[in-house]
């Protein structure tokens, strides 16, 4: 028997496969994207309240005082280290060859959710593109009482 699909058959198959494929893709990406968006939105509120005064609206920081958050290895690199900076603060740091002298206070009063959100926001804003920070990652980094 010859299997020779007709044009009609092809169309029928595409008509079935395509929406299924779209649904399939959406099923995986949409929740993630909306999860990311929700985290970023919440993160922006945290950023504006606790970070903006020093790191500025555009994440550019202040020359020689407060380091920028734009495409630096601190922001895009090791998440555990980044979470640690938020929790423990930092002072007298060199970033991309420049010294920054101001003191960043520990922000360990922020909840795990707030730290995850604000770092997800920072890692996906100001021209940055990096994976989200999860509550579990923050929890794991927080010193045990």
């Amino acid at each position: 028997m010859r299997f020779a699909p007709t044009g009609v058959n092809m169309k029928t198959i595409s008509a079935i496969i395509f929406p299924v494929l779209v649904l399939f893709i959406c099923a995986f990406t949409l929740p993630q994207q909306s999860g990311l968006k929700a985290s970023k939105d919440r993160g922006k509120v945290v950023y504006d309240t606790y970070c903006l005064a020093c790191h500025m609206q555009d994440g550019g920081g202040a020359p020689r005082m407060n380091p920028p958050l734009i495409k630096t290895k601190f922001v895009l690199g090791d998440k555990k280290k980044l979470i640690g900076i938020v929790m423990n603060g930092l002072s007298g740091v060199e970033v991309e060859g420049e010294d920054y002298s101001n003191v960043m206070a520990p922000h360990n009063f922020l909840t795990d959710q707030q730290i995850a959100d604000v770092l997800t926001y920072v890692r996906n804003n100001f021209g940055n593109k990096a994976s989200a920070v999860t509550v579990a990652e923050v929890k794991a980094a927080r010193p045990k009482k």
Partner: protein, 427 residues
């Protein structure tokens, strides 16, 4: 081809002749500096002209002009391994065309007095003897006159000035915002008494000619000053004047007491006339720019009304809006500028970083007129402006240092791009 070549040579010869002539013309005008057509990109009062006399010198902090016109610039970051640059105008057109570097340390302070050039690192002060040619005799062998001052990576610069009696006055900035138990942590209380004040948060007096002085040999001349970047000895009344950088984060820490805008304008940046023993109030007190009063800091129980014993502290003589960062102070003693400028104060404002989300501000040079009594005789006014450029939140140039030339012209340095302007007045 040969015709073209001949024409080319002819043209080159003409151009060379023209430029030679132009050079001659400039040399004739040695003693009348020519401002740039656009005043070097800055705005000045009528009658004043600006000229860019050096560019890309490095991170120029404080500057000083020697009696022969050489300008010395202290750099905050080494350039080609050097931390001090001597700029010289060899052809007399006002622009510096020779740069010689020496000194292997970074820092801010720079001055010349009685045959010595003084320069500071963030922990020390050095001096270099000038020779009979009025030049640094040995750039590799300075005398270390002061050593071991605090540098805790916050307010670490050591600007200074000198009087006429062999003393040098050095800032030791407080490595702290408001002497809280935990620096810059919301809710952390202020320490009382503030232990920082024993070693920083003031101006110390040392002798110019004693080697290796430290805290034990110095005198805490004035205290309660968070971070003084501008200091000048006003020879008209023989007294020290300073400009203080006020505290940060009033709105961030106390939003129930300060609106965002009030946080951007508070506390005042202040200018003090200080004497031996002056206590200017930090960290207990600040000057509220909105309420026009010296009151207690909230870390010490302040509510914007309670004054505590702030009334007994040294009161400032000029108050500016918050966070503008007065980085240098110069009393003008020259004869070039009009009479109203004589013995008045120029202040270089580095510009703010901590007014966000309000637009940043400052990035200008201000003038304060002074009377014969050594007190301000009128309101402060912006003298030179436009350094920030198109985006006030990303300033292109930041005024940091001031110096007076032997002819009475005023020099302004920028530590962002390393540009230096000369301001002149044409009657």
């Amino acid at each position: 081809m040969s015709i073209f070549r001949q024409s080319f040579y002819c043209l080159m010869a003409c151009l060379l002749t023209l430029s030679a002539c132009a050079g001659d013309t400039t040399k004739v005008a040695t003693n009348s500096p020519v401002p740039d057509p656009d005043n070097g990109g800055i705005k000045l009062p009528a009658g004043f002209g600006g000229q860019i006399v050096a560019d890309k010198v490095g991170r120029v902090r404080h500057i000083f002009v020697n009696s022969n016109g050489d300008l010395y610039a202290k750099l905050e970051k080494l350039k080609d391994g050097k931390g001090i640059m001597r700029l010289r105008d060899k052809n007399g057109d006002g622009k510096f065309d020779e740069t010689v570097g020496f000194g292997n340390f970074i820092g801010t302070g720079m001055a010349i007095k009685n045959g010595y050039l003084y320069a500071s690192s963030n922990t020390e002060v050095f001096r270099y003897k000038l020779n009979e040619k009025n030049e640094v005799a040995d750039g590799a062998q300075p005398e270390k006159i002061i050593t071991g001052l605090w540098d805790h990576h916050q307010h670490e610069a050591k600007p200074f000035t000198l009087d006429n009696d062999g003393n040098i006055y050095v800032t030791i900035g407080a490595p702290s915002n408001c002497c809280q138990v935990q620096d810059r942590v919301k809710g952390s209380p202020g320490q009382s008494p503030c232990p920082i004040l024993d070693s920083a948060g003031g101006v110390w007096q040392f002798k110019v000619d004693k080697p290796n002085q430290s805290y034990a040999e110095g005198v805490r001349y004035a205290t309660g000053l968070r971070n003084v970047m501008g200091l000048d000895w006003n020879t008209a009344v023989n007294s020290l004047y300073v400009t203080q950088h006020g505290r940060d984060q009033l709105f961030q820490f106390y939003p129930e007491m300060y609106s965002q805008k009030e946080g951007a304008e508070n506390p005042s940046e202040e200018m003090f006339k200080v004497k031996l023993g002056s206590d200017c109030g930090w960290p207990y007190c600040y000057y509220d720019y909105t309420k026009k009063q010296k009151v207690l800091n909230p870390e010490y129980g302040g509510d914007r009304t309670k004054a505590g014993d702030c009334g007994s502290k040294e009161q400032s003589i000029v108050q500016f809006p918050g966070h503008l960062a007065p980085n240098d102070l110069l009393f003008y003693t020259g004869d070039m500028f009009p009479e109203k400028y004589k013995n008045g104060a120029f202040i270089a404002f580095h510009g703010s970083w901590n007014r966000a989300p309000e637009p940043q501000a400052g990035y200008f040079v201000v003038f304060v007129p002074f009377g014969k009594d050594g007190m301000p005789s009128g309101n402060w006014e912006v003298f030179a402006d436009g350094f920030a450029g198109a985006d006030i939140n990303r300033a292109t140039y930041r005024p940091c240092g001031l110096a007076q030339g032997p002819d009475g012209s005023l020099y302004i340095s920028d530590d962002n791009q390393g540009r230096i302007w000369r301001i002149t007045y044409k009657k």
